[in-house]
């Protein structure tokens, strides 16, 4: 019997053993109802659960589908990204490797193999860094200590610190290795061949400090070396700074061209190199200017010896592509600590000494002297005054008559420039003309002279001409012709009353251009004279190169007439030559009757000098004309 029915019977049985059937059936009924209810509940909950689980399943299926779609899309994306990444990696100019946290190769690109000349089979993903290094050792593309290299890389990855290294390969190439730790361990390294860049950098660094023509240190490096050398001076050593330039270097450039000039500079640099010791520095600081630092000297005597050596070496003849060239150098020397311990001061003092050496005459050397400083200052003051003098009207012309030895009497007057300095009074042209030349004032000054001389001469008797000196600079100036034309036009002076005097030096530079200018001037009717003949090169070829109207024989021959027969011979020869070339000759500096008689006898056509008249202001000259015309009138 089922336990339940036994219980139910027990519950329906009274104490007397009588079974209450109604009670029993109620209990049995209830039990059936319990079961039915339980079954209904079970059925209901089961079917609901199945529905729910079904719904959940459908939801999951949809989710799976969705995720699968997403994954596929992502996969396609990833593939495309991989292709792009692969293209980027293959085409990058740097070698690239990626290692995991254990130091195993994850990937490398083709450029990496190329840089280290590895074959694709030499290394593969999964290899330890150590094995990659060994592969490189085998093909000799690794230099250094492999253990140390591996340890360093692993340490950098472990500490997550970026690392940069320059690696020199056995084949001489230089690589930049840049190691960056990756998130999640491991690292990515780029390998860049920086050989060319490094060379270029070195070259640029060299160029920044050296002169490209001579490969000598430039001014920047000179200053640096001088700083360094002066540090030794502080510790008791002495040094010398020599500044030098080449005398008349411009002539070489002008006459032979710049390529030859450059070649000369290179050769000079070579000779200078041979003159100095290893520790000394030679620098080219400008066109033909060089500076030398002579270190650790015993005293001035060492610097003097070097200067002598240099002067000798530089002045030896050069063969420049078939041109024989001789050039001298002037040298200024400043000593440290005696002349200063500041680099700029020393260089300035050496420069001043050079200026002094040039003043002494070419091919000299001079030590710096404190008075040079004062002289330099005086020169600067002169420069400043000179620049103001023209606008202040401090210049004036005076004139010295030129007399014809025939019956013409006064023929013309040479215009001579005078500067009436407001404080210093009359300043010698010998002092200010070179300065005016140097500071470029000579052109403006020359123009003023031409205009003024023409204006003055226009007021003179018609038969009196005016002679004006032209400097080489003026002749080379394109403005000369317009200036002359303008001066003539303004003054109404006929061109045949104007005479322009040039020196031989004019014909030494830019000969072609100068000759062209001279021909143009002469074609206007202006006379051209060759001044100071006999003092320079006195090459007769100059006389052939241009049809001068007049030769002016330098005063030194005239003053020598009484004492030596050579002067007379020269004067005679020149006069004869001039006559045969249809030129007139002026003997300059005639001071005595004897000289006058002699030059007349030697064949000169004209004279100029104190015997007749010193240079006189224009007012006085006008009086002389009046007297002369009165005299002529009286004679008449």
């Amino acid at each position: 019997m089922h336990r339940l029915i036994a219980q139910q019977i027990a519950k329906a049985t009274a104490a007397d053993g009588k079974v209450d059937v109604a009670r029993l059936s109620e209990l049995v009924n209830g039990a059936y109802e319990d079961l039915d209810r339980d079954r209904r509940r079970t059925d209901r909950s089961m079917s609901l659960m199945i529905e729910e689980i079904d719904a959940v399943n459908r939801k999951l299926e949809r989710l799976v589908e969705e995720r699968t779609r997403e994954l596929r899309a992502r996969e396609i994306d990833l593939q495309a990204q991989n292709v792009r990444l692969d293209a980027a990696l293959s085409n990058m100019s740097q070698g690239l490797t990626m290692f995991d946290v254990e130091g195993r190769l994850i990937m490398c690109n083709g450029r990496y193999l190329e840089i280290y000349r590895l074959q694709p089979g030499d290394i593969r993903p999964g290899m330890l860094l150590r094995e990659v290094v060994e592969a490189r050792i085998r093909n000799q593309s690794f230099s250094g200590d492999p253990d140390q290299f591996v340890a360093e890389m692993m340490a950098a990855a472990r500490d997550r610190t970026p690392m940069r290294q320059q690696v020199e390969l056995l084949n001489g190439r230089t690589l930049a290795l840049d190691v960056q730790p990756m998130a999640g361990g491991g690292w990515v390294a780029t390998h860049e061949d920086i050989t060319e860049r490094k060379r270029a950098e070195l070259k640029i660094a060299h160029m920044a400090l050296h002169d490209s023509l001579t490969n000598l240190p430039n001014r920047v490096l000179l200053n640096k070396r001088l700083d360094e050398a002066l540090a030794h001076v502080e510790r008791g050593q002495q040094l010398a700074v020599l500044c030098l330039d080449l005398d008349q270097f411009k002539n070489v450039n002008d006459t032979l061209g710049h390529p030859i000039g450059d070649e000369l500079l290179r050769k000079v640099a070579g000779r200078l190199r041979n003159c100095v010791r290893d520790g000394d520095t030679i620098s080219r600081v400008g066109g033909d200017e060089f500076s030398i630092i002579q270190t650790d000297i015993a005293g001035a005597v060492d610097a003097r010896q070097l200067a002598v050596r240099i002067a000798e070496a530089v002045s030896a003849p050069y063969d420049l592509h078939g041109h024989a060239v001789i050039i001298n150098t002037s040298i200024g020397i400043a000593l440290a600590p005696a002349d200063g311990t500041d680099p700029h001061e020393l260089l300035r003092n050496a420069d001043m000494a050079l200026y002094g050496a040039k003043g002494d005459g070419r091919g000299m050397f001079r030590f710096f002297e404190p008075k040079m400083d004062a002289q330099m200052k005086a020169r600067r003051t002169l420069e400043i005054s000179l620049r103001k003098a023209l606008e202040n009207g401090e210049f004036a012309l005076c004139y010295q008559p030129v007399m014809n030895l025939g019956k013409d009497g006064m023929k013309s007057c040479e215009a001579l420039l005078r500067w009436h300095h407001p404080e210093r009074g009359l300043v010698s042209p010998l002092e200010f003309i070179p300065v005016a030349e140097e500071i470029g004032l000579i052109v403006a000054l020359g123009e003023w002279v031409i205009r003024q001389a023409c204006a003055d001469a226009a007021k003179w008797p018609d038969n009196i001409g005016v002679a004006v000196n032209l400097s080489p600079t003026q002749l080379g100036n394109a403005n000369l012709l317009p200036t002359v034309l303008n001066a003539l036009a303004t003054s109404q002076l006929p061109p045949d009353r104007l005479e322009l005097e040039i020196t031989e030096a004019v014909l030494m530079h830019n000969t072609e251009t100068n000759l062209k200018a001279l021909h143009q001037l002469r074609s206007l009717g202006i006379s051209i004279s060759l001044d100071d003949f006999g003092t320079g090169y006195s090459s007769l070829s100059y006389l052939r190169s241009f049809p001068f109207d007049r030769i002016k024989i330098d005063r030194c021959f005239i003053s020598g007439l009484g004492s030596n027969s050579e002067s007379a011979a020269i004067v005679k020869a020149v006069a004869g030559l001039a006559e045969s070339l249809s030129m007139t000759t002026t003997a300059e500096g005639v001071e005595t009757q004897a000289q006058l008689d002699q030059v007349r006898e030697l064949g000169c056509t004209d004279v100029q000098g104190y015997f007749y008249s010193k240079p006189v202001p224009v007012e006085e000259l006008t009086k002389m004309f009046s007297r002369s015309s009165a005299r002529k009138a009286a004679v008449a």
């Binding site: 339940l4 319990d34 609901l48 729910e52």
Partner: protein, 383 residues
């Protein structure tokens, strides 16, 4: 230790009439709300046992050994030889005071030689989880705390608890056992099986559940109960308890049973917390699995006594009303199954409750359970 079973019914009153009451004695009694209301039965017991602590509550059915009845009041008088007792009772005005109430009781009972606590609580106006947490917070997690929440049949209207006083609503009463002689074994098991999909508690506040997977919880229950059983809410919700657990700690799963429903808010109030974010799964029972659960609880409890041969051993079975609702006449399957495990020498009585209190079978932590059978066994060493 001595134990004596008593029964009260309409016809005979209390039987037997004679009882040798000891100095430290304790009377447990359980009956329907209707039978206990007014306090007459308590006063009769008090007259019978003037010196004893008397602890009882209303139920959803009384367990008298294997039998389950609704008419009689069952009681047991226990005399201890070497164990002293202390009773504490507190009124609870509002479920929000549950923790404070538990703490107060814990403070009343706490002592160095406290060996165990058995608590009976109002079954409707309390958050059982908070109450338990309040008591264990004071007495510590190592002292076994067992007991249950009073029941009101399937009515869920009012529950009564009395501790040395006439039973009344909103009352919590607990008895503490002191000394080294007392042995308390306890066991708790359900036997319910989870079924259906796992759901997430998407909206809740304390022990009030609003939504599962974003759907009103009451909708889900009504769907599962069907129109017939839905009429019986909240009692019928006991047919489908839920198991909740913190997703991060699946071992901490506890079963929660419904105390009340709010048809307007579509919410359900459970006997313990249903924390938001936890995982919930519906459960269902079968007669055999529930009976096996009861046997399991009994086995744990007996094992807790460590085989002491006290021939007066005594067990209190507190089983969930939900189990009885499901099993109907077959409920005796579980009392019998428990009886087989506890052995013939063990006197058993108990009640069907709105919540069971016992240490968790796995974690050992005292908790409020629902839909379980919990068995607390008492024995004294040397008696």
């Amino acid at each position: 230790m001595r134990s004596q079973r008593l029964v009260w019914n309409q016809q005979s009153g209390w039987t037997p009439k004679q009882f040798e009451a000891g100095r430290d004695s304790l009377v447990f009694y359980f009956g329907t709300r209707q039978a206990l209301a007014g306090g007459t039965r308590y006063h009769e017991l008090r007259a019978l046992f003037p010196a004893a602590h008397i602890l009882g509550c209303s139920t959803g059915g009384q367990i008298d050994n294997n039998d389950i009845g609704d008419d009689e009041i069952v009681a047991a008088a226990i005399g201890f030889d070497a164990t002293s007792l202390r009773l504490s009772r507190r009124e609870i005005g509002d479920p929000s005071q549950s923790r404070a109430c538990g703490e107060a009781i814990g403070r009343d009972l706490n002592a160095d030689d406290l060996a165990g606590v058995f608590v009976l609580s109002d079954g409707l106006n309390v958050n059982g989880s908070a109450l338990v947490a309040g008591i264990t917070g004071v007495i510590g997690p190592k002292i076994p705390l067992t007991g249950g929440l009073a029941g009101d049949g399937a009515d869920f209207k009012e529950t009564l608890v009395g501790g040395d006083c006439a039973p009344q609503a909103r009352m919590v009463a607990a008895i503490g056992f002191y000394g080294s002689a007392i042995r308390i074994g306890h066991g708790s098991a359900g036997g319910w099986d989870v079924f259906g999909p796992r759901r997430q508690v998407t909206k809740s506040a304390g022990n009030v559940l609003f939504e599962l997977d974003g759907e009103p919880a009451l909708d889900l229950y009504e769907r599962y109960l069907g129109p017939e059983d839905s009429q019986g809410l909240p009692g019928s919700a006991l047919l489908f308890p839920i198991q909740v657990h913190d997703a991060a700690h699946p071992d901490s799963a506890v079963v929660r049973t419904v105390l009340a429903v709010d048809r307007d808010a579509r919410s359900m109030t459970f006997a313990g917390d249903v924390p938001q974010g936890w995982t919930a799964q519906l459960m269902r029972g079968s007669f055999d699995r529930l009976a096996a659960g009861a046997a399991d609880a009994a086995r744990q409890s007996r094992a807790g006594l460590n085989g002491h041969a006290d021939d007066q051993k005594f067990s209190i079975l507190v089983s969930c009303i939900g189990r009885r609702l499901l099993m109907g006449q077959r409920t005796t399957d579980e009392t019998e199954a428990a009886g087989v495990e506890l052995g013939a020498g063990m006197m058993r009585l108990g009640f069907y409750s709105y919540g069971e209190i016992s240490p968790h079978a796995k974690s050992g932590q005292c908790e409020l359970h629902n839909q379980t059978m919990t068995v607390t066994s008492f024995a004294e060493v040397g008696s």
